[in-house]
Symmetry: C2
Subunit: 136 residues, 2 copies
DNA sequence: CTCTTGACTTAGACAATGTCCAGTGTAGGA
DNA sequence: TCCTACACTGGACATTGTCTAAGTCAAGAG
């Protein structure tokens, strides 16, 4: 995710060890970690990084659109580095595994005008639920 | 929601003033209250009802399928008495208003087999976001 | 109708997640 | 190398939800 760090730098943000580690920890496909999971992994590389910094850095990455917040359950929000390819989520009801998926068509198109109640509708988030292969 | 109370009774549950008040407070269309909002309204009718009882009663109603839990943001879960008609949600990004909506077709049909990663997919929850008429 | 009893309710402690602040440290330009 | 505005830290605090021990009461039995 050096790309992400470069974008931060271009915005005039200082590149610190903490921000670098958070970006590294969040790299990969189908990554959807909670803030505390990011903190635990970051601590392994940079022992004294604080919870506040992890929350701050994740929040900043969300603000600039490089990371997406995903709330698939009523628990902790998850942070998703796959911000440049619109996608939806498939969640295992038993173990919580999250996969990125791309449904066909635009989900917004399924909501007819007479079901919009005068809203200006701009986005649709879909969470598919089921059991993953490991959970039968 | 005397219907709901009757179902509780049929399951051998005692009908108490607390359960009656929670059921009454949750009655209506497009109702999506948080547990604390339910508690505040219930307190107006039954001053000493406790938070624990509100949480317990809502959880019981969810368990028997008479109420649905809705998590449209990363904040408090909302409780929805419209449990017998499958529907999705339209949320105002500014004021948080939630409306029940019925998209056309089955949302599950939009997820092709090669995007299911071997999961047994059983449900899809859609949250539409936009601005309500009052929020321009 | 009254009694009995096990289910229900309560208050408050505790847990999980997230926010905020004052004091300290440092990245990066001058 | 030095300065200083910005970032980081530890901890207090806020919100949302769970749990438990002790008191209360709904509803069936007699
Ligand atoms: Mn994702
Ligand atoms: Mn609803
Ligand atoms: Zn699983
Ligand atoms: Zn609105």
């Amino acid at each position: 995710m050096s790309d992400l760090l470069e974008r931060l730098r271009e915005r005039g943000w200082r590149i610190t060890a903490q921000r670098r580690v958070v970006a590294e920890v969040l790299d990969g496909d189908h990554v959807h970690l909670t803030a505390d999971e990011v903190h635990a992994r970051a601590t392994a590389r940079l022992p004294e990084i604080s919870r506040a910094t992890v929350y701050n850095t994740l929040g900043e990455m969300v603000t600039i659109g490089e990371v997406i917040e995903v709330a698939t359950d009523g628990r902790a929000k998850r942070y998703d580095p796959n911000a440049h390819h619109p996608h939806q989520h498939l969640v295992c009801s038993r173990c919580g595994t999250v996969r990125d998926v791309r449904p066909t068509g635009d989900p917004l198109a399924a909501l007819p005008a007479d079901e919009r109640f005068g809203f200006t509708v701009s986005a649709a988030e879909v969470t598919y639920r089921g059991l993953c292969p490991d959970c039968v």
